[in-house]
Point group: C2
Chain length 618, copies 2
């Protein structure tokens, strides 16, 4: 059974349709004052009484009748038999009309002497000075700021009426397990409604997550119908595609109508917009990054129609480092890392896989490639939208090249200093090329030349005439990972899992194979490539391959035997012109710190004799 999308419409049309087809009238709820910050008022708020309701002393001193103080001077002090001591905030008794501050009062025999006359109403806070009964404190559609909570308390408001948009989140799928349960084969942790709740509540919605619903039309029907009764908007997670177990569209059609099945966005195309009992029902695609895109680009803008103040991302013009190609017809959203290198902003697209949820964690920005566009050429200027505050993006430290877990630990050392190390996994050669184009701050690299030297030959070749420094992160063991302690010489005939061409590990393997006179063609699986050390170890652990080459740490993480083959110089290359960049300086300091040596020792597989040593590339 092959189902097709009913219709695929452009994103802007989908947003216009939502605005047109639904009245977007929010519910009202009364929240206690301590939960009111950030909420939006549904009507004007008025003072319940005047503040103050009665005249108060604005100073510590004595309350007096101003008429009785006339003529007082240094030469002619006046003694006041009738005056009342008042502290700041005390009521000024009705018979008095001024306050004289304590510094200007002399006490003698129970009465007060003054040497200066008092103007009527001096140092008195008159009734209603702050606000009078029935005056408007704040308007409709006002986002209550944290400091205003105090003012509301003062004016007698304890439960302001605020906008409530009740969103019901219905997770469907027989494969779902809750967060905290390790998923078995074919099971998936339900994360889409967890994420949706966090994102929509940040925008001010009130979300209810319903229990998981099996992939059975009858059960899905009941769950959606009951969510419809209790909410203003219903979001059904997954089952929105057109596969055999994708029942969402059919169920919505039975209970109401499907207005849209398919929006021309990537990721996120298989989204459903339906209507049941006049209420919008949105079917979310299952892949986490597809769901993220639909929430950010469709649901959050839709919430603004209800008066919620979902914040718009800041935008920055930036130079894109790699080209993005796409077909005309869809808006495409690409997660990126952005940062300032020298005097310009550069933005690097991340992996496009909609299943790679980590892309959303690693990204600090995204770009929208418009529907009518065929993509962006590398080096062009694009509009990047920030996923972090602009000040945080400005402190990003962009690292492109060969990834090693210790880079994550360096990031961990830098983060408390306000520096965000963002690592783009591009392999050693990718790093060298990024350095050449001055599109990153530093490039971790371990490129072995035919003469057995590391890194310098490649820098000389690709960045001739550019001053580059190298700082050693560590000397790192590469070796054979297997389930049964295979050595390098055992490889022939065993199923191998390889790293991608251009990676330092691949070069080291080829170098060692050549030295040993082993023909790569004799190794089954040599052509099977993965892009990280840990992926190599995982392939071995799962039995997919018998052996692979990786760093010690990856084998250790999965409890697999590791037989060292060679030690390589894992260095950080950076342009000397950036040496004074405070982010880079902090990174170098971190590499040289005792804390980092401790981490290397704890992880194992690293020699630290050279760690922190700097050398020019030529």
């Amino acid at each position: 059974m092959v189902k097709r999308y009913l219709s695929v419409i452009p994103l802007d049309d989908a947003l216009a349709l939502l605005a047109r087809e639904f009245p977007c009238i929010p519910s009202t709820m009364q929240v206690p004052l301590e939960e009111a910050a950030g909420r939006i008022t549904t009507g004007p708020i008025f003072a319940r009484y005047s503040v103050p309701e009665i005249h108060l002393a604005a100073m510590d001193g004595i309350a007096v009748r101003s008429s009785e103080t006339r003529g007082a001077s240094e030469q002619h002090p006046i003694t006041l038999p009738q005056a009342a001591w008042v502290n700041t905030g005390n009521v000024v008794p009705p018979e008095y009309d001024a306050v004289i501050m304590i510094e200007d009062v002399w006490e003698a025999d129970g009465s007060y002497m003054i040497r200066k006359s008092a103007a009527p109403w001096q140092h008195v806070r008159p009734a209603g000075e702050d606000l009078a009964e029935s005056e408007m404190v704040m308007q409709s559609a006002h986002r209550i700021r944290a400091h205003e909570i105090g003012a509301l308390a003062t004016y007698g408001i304890t439960h302001p009426d605020v906008i409530a948009v009740r969103v019901g989140l219905v997770p469907t799928g027989s494969e779902l397990v809750p967060a905290g349960t390790r998923p078995g084969p074919g099971q998936v942790v339900e994360s889409n409604t967890v994420m949706a709740k966090a994102m929509l509540e940040e925008a001010g919605a009130t979300c209810t997550r319903y229990p998981f619903v099996e992939d059975k039309p009858e059960k899905i029907r009941n769950a959606i119908a009951s969510a419809c009764r209790e909410n203003d908007i219903i979001i059904v997670s997954a089952g929105s595609s057109a596969g055999t177990k994708d029942y969402t569209a059919d169920v919505i059609a039975e209970l109401g109508e499907v207005l849209v099945h398919g929006v021309a966005i990537r990721p996120g195309k298989p989204v459903i917009i339906g209507r049941i009992d006049k209420k919008p029902v949105i079917g979310l695609p299952g892949y986490p990054l597809s769901a993220l895109t639909v929430i950010r680009e469709i649901v959050l803008p839709f919430l603004r129609n209800y008066g919620l103040s979902a914040p718009e991302p800041d935008r920055i013009r930036a130079q894109i480092t790699t080209s993005v190609a796409k077909e005309i017809g869809s808006d495409e959203f690409v997660l990126c890392t952005i940062g300032r290198v020298g005097s310009r902003w550069v933005v690097s697209p991340q992996s496009k896989g909609a299943g790679v949820q980590m892309s959303g964690v690693r990204a600090n920005a995204y770009i929208r490639v418009p529907r009518a566009s065929e993509g962006f050429d590398a080096g062009g200027e694009v509009d990047a939208r920030l996923m972090v505050p602009a000040s945080e993006a400005a402190n990003a430290l962009l690292i492109t090249g060969s990834h090693d877990p210790v880079i994550d630990y360096l990031a961990d050392l830098l983060r408390p200093q306000g520096i965000c190390l963002l690592s783009t996994h591009a392999g050693s050669m990718g790093g060298i090329l990024a350095l050449k184009k001055d599109e990153c701050h530093a490039a971790p690299t371990h490129l072995l030349a035919e003469n057995g030297s590391y890194n310098t030959a490649y820098l000389e070749k690709y960045l001739p005439g550019t001053d580059v420094n190298l700082i050693c992160i560590a000397e790192r063991q590469q070796g054979i990972v297997s389930r049964d302690g295979l050595t390098f010489s055992d490889l022939a005939g065993r199923t191998f899992i390889n790293r991608q061409r251009g990676s330092g590990t691949r070069m080291l393997l080829d170098y060692e194979l050549k030295r040993a006179g082993i023909d790569p063609a004799s190794i089954p699986g040599y052509e099977r490539e993965v892009t990280t050390h840990i992926a190599v170890a995982l392939a071995v652990k799962s039995g997919e391959a018998d052996a692979g080459m990786c760093v010690y740490n990856a084998a250790k993480a999965l409890g697999l035997p590791f037989v060292p083959v060679a030690q390589e110089r894992y260095e950080l290359a950076f342009r000397r012109e950036h040496a004074d960049d405070p982010r880079l300086a902090a990174l170098i300091k971190a590499i040289r710190s005792p804390a980092f040596r401790d981490i290397l020792a704890r992880l194992g597989g690293y020699e630290t004799a050279e760690t922190g040593r700097q050398r020019p590339a030529r």
Copy 2:
């Protein structure tokens, strides 16, 4: 008994002292995932297992052995006896190494026919593609973003360790009543710890408000000691001044030590910084705007030392409309309204009274007048700090002049359109002068000339040669408010409450007094000035005065008799050059709307025949 501040130190020194004297080590707490957005991690977070842990189908189709598909073509289809149907996300059984998508498969007699070969691992999501067991998901000191909640769920993290800074808030003062209780004479609604809780929790702190403590040293001592045991930071509200009932400093000195009593800021000077059991204890001044300033300028920056990400306000260079004078020696913070008029930003200081909590509601910005400065001259450029998002400030509609409650209702009509009408109460003449300097978008005015005409004579005099339009808001009744139905001719000999010079109401009164041949000197209280209609009515209601002149609405709000004296033309003046400004256009549209006519009718005291009529000022 006159106590003095122990020492008054500059603000920067106070912040440096806090950073130096306290280790600022936050507590750690584990929060459930759904409360984790916005929290800051205290350590790196690692994936609990690989995602996926096993190879999955990336497409709906059949799982195959790629080696068995070699040679398949249109001419030479291959029938696969062994293949397994897989939906997207299903496990690819170990015997297979590729997936062929459904569109390329023909079913016949229970077996599958293909016309294209499959590359090894095509359409397979390999184990660990997203993240591998033990890899770092996020670093220490990372602010968890809403969309990352989903990723954490996927990687098996349900209760991340996040920074907890536990702040104990101790409200002291025998005069305190809780929000929701109408304060009796001399009572005050406790709002400082309510506000502090909202502001500090927004910055990520975990606050506990303790019960009110009477002004008795022994009780204050017990309350502070117990808050010290349960929190990282203790904030004592009020009693921090140097009056007779200000026990806070003495109690802190008994339990520990007072490091600072008095910081050179205004408002907020009488702040205390003490230490008990190595913990910081901060004594907050009692006036709400003093407390606000201390929280914003001292407590929030201090929280950043604990790793919390209290946001810094955006800054905008703006032209200041009125001069701010101060003595050298204190940093002074002034609440302001800011907006764009024409092509420049203008910022207007608001009332300075630390008891006027509404200033904090009306303000959308503030300025810091530095310690070494004697102030700012009108027209100069200053750094304004925003209290709203920059986009909201850019949509501010600045109205300066004579205030009437209907202006608040117009603001209420505009707010849902995203336009923030900010009204500076400056009286009609103040509005004309602001218009002359082009420092507001429009000026509500009701200035009576000797020939009986409204507004035009003044605009001609003060803005000669400038094209100004007037739009009528309403014709408004002014009259005598009293407790017993006094008329204009009853005024002589009765205690009066007057409006300030330059206000339209004052001019109308003087005009009518002159017409009636009444000498102002014969009216006791003629010299007593307040600045709003409602303040006039309040003075009458409280018995402070027998009569005053105000609009009908103010008398009605307080249930007082009102005898009309005259009807005046309450108009909005604006420069014709701004007529196309969308904010001003929206305001004019609101004035002409049926909704506004309904409001005028409901409030009473307004004639609407002229409402919405526009005329040139000359």
